[in-house]
Subunit: 120 residues, 2 copies
Amino acid sequence: MENVISTEKCRNSIKALEDAMYVIGGKWTLRVIIALKDGHTRFNDIQRTIDGISAKVLSSVLKDLEENGFVKRKVDIGVPVVVEYELLSYAETLQEVLSALVSWGEMHREKVIRKQEELV
Amino acid sequence: MENVISTEKCRNSIKALEDAMYVIGGKWTLRVIIALKDGHTRFNDIQRTIDGISAKVLSSVLKDLEENGFVKRKVDIGVPVVVEYELLSYAETLQEVLSALVSWGEMHREKVIRKQEELV
DNA sequence: TCATTTACTAACCTAAAGGTTACTACTTAC
DNA sequence: GTAAGTAGTAACCTTTAGGTTAGTAAATGA
């Protein structure tokens, strides 16, 4: 019985893991979130900030972020029309994931460099 | 000057993030690590544990894990040959990332379910 | 004796993520 | 007068991760 519960728990964790990776696992998703966090709110501004991203991809990432509740798209109908993307508070829930990934990545990079030096 | 340092820092964080996602961002990578963690050490055993993974993909994931220092491949030349995959201590460094992803995924799932209920 | 298990690999195929180019219609700056 | 900026979209192409099928060779189980 305990076994049933624990495998059930385990399955849920795996699902959660896959959900998380599905939402933030895209090549550009986290970079767009970071750009928004850094105060870049307008389309072309964001695109200029993120080296290598195309308008098409940025557009689709922003749509996904909107659907997932990370971002609000605000349109100011004027001349010219101004569109602003606002990072919602829900995006803050990613903080732990983000910093865990960054610090692991830094650690891993150092390890890889150390290994390369050993080979010289 | 401060600006230079902080953008430099920021670039490093982004690189670290991308490195991390590159290493663990594959569809099956974390699942294989979890299977190994749960004590499954042999190829077919791991494959049976992970629903839906093909031999080809498992084989390539294990190779990547070996290259990245997460896993040791041990061959016991006998009749029959027995191959065992051992999770190295380096894999433990992923714990924080793993649990951050799992708990975020759980939280997100609950939020999505709540939202669906509101729509009924 | 025939199926199954072991740990894979080769060859092929598909789907989807992402990249490229061109275009919108309007405005401002040079 | 024209180049550049505004926020994108349409149509197309490429890359690649991953999926599928079949097969290895030796040994055990029914």
